[in-house]
Subunit: 169 residues, 2 copies
């Protein structure tokens, strides 16, 4: 089978943030989406189980989703996508605010954010899906959201092996 | 909260097809994605439980995903998105092929398709997530995939109330 077909699926680029006691961290994902439209609105995110963000999200049950815009730099995206927050404070070098739920959301190159509570985790091999209840959301501007396609074609970004969208070819 | 933030999430546009005995049907969704990269590769789709495709997918456990291209017409997208296949044979008026698993995949305005088997269903209110094992995939051409953003801004498409991305505002 021609696995490059998987590259024809469309995604945005998001930073999922959470916390472990007073330590914050986050990671870049493409796997956030809205699932339902009646309130409470449910969203989801899929995360690699080896990620530090996975570990703290399943403990705290809190996850915020920052939607990156098209001016987001490779540096910012890679900062959250290509290194672990286990021994390193990722939030130290970026601008963030604390949302109502006490979890950070990005400030720079961010179109909007969602504050959510994880209500279910579904094991899918290397990754887990978290079903997220939307508690609050805020639009920061009307910048164009970054797409995964734009990340590859214009920003010339790569895909880390732990990402959902990695293709073993 | 400003629910228009939900419009900043990015999606593709897909037709999910399945069958009930010898009757085929399908529906338009934005909620397909790749979840894992090691084989077996897992994908997912979220579908409204009132959809006829939901009903036949959960019975047959088979779902094919056709990725629409940017030349897909409002007529084709709406054919699968705005009417039910319960009393009407949606496949009769479109070109399709049967994939290896005996489920149809679209031919016109289709970039590639995925043949999948549903291995898990997760209840999320009005919708369910199906975790799908990827059995086969095929690329038909290198056309640009249709994005949900393009569907709204260029094709001027609307969102039906049963869609995951509907916003009650």
């Amino acid at each position: 089978m021609d696995l490059t077909a998987l590259q024809k699926l469309s995604y945005g680029v998001y930073v999922i943030t959470s916390k472990d006691k007073e330590k914050f961290s986050g990671c870049t994902v493409t796997t956030a989406m809205q699932l339902t439209s009646n309130e409470p609105i449910y969203m989801m995110v899929a995360i690699n189980k080896e990620n530090y963000t996975y570990e703290i999200l399943r403990k705290s049950k809190k996850a915020n989703i920052s939607v990156l815009d098209k001016n987001a730099t490779l540096e910012l995206i890679g900062h959250f996508g290509f290194r672990t927050g286990r021994q390193y404070d990722k939030m130290q070098k970026v601008d963030y605010e604390l949302a109502n739920n006490g979890i950070p959301t990005l400030v720079q190159n961010t179109v909007c954010y969602f504050e959510t509570t994880a209500i279910n985790e579904i094991n899918v091999g290397t990754h887990s899906i978290f079903v997220l209840k939307l508690d609050n959301c805020k639009k920061l501007n009307d910048n164009e959201p970054l797409t995964y396609d734009y990340y590859h074609k214009v920003i010339k970004g790569k895909t880390p092996p732990k990402a959902s969208t990695f293709i073993n070819i």
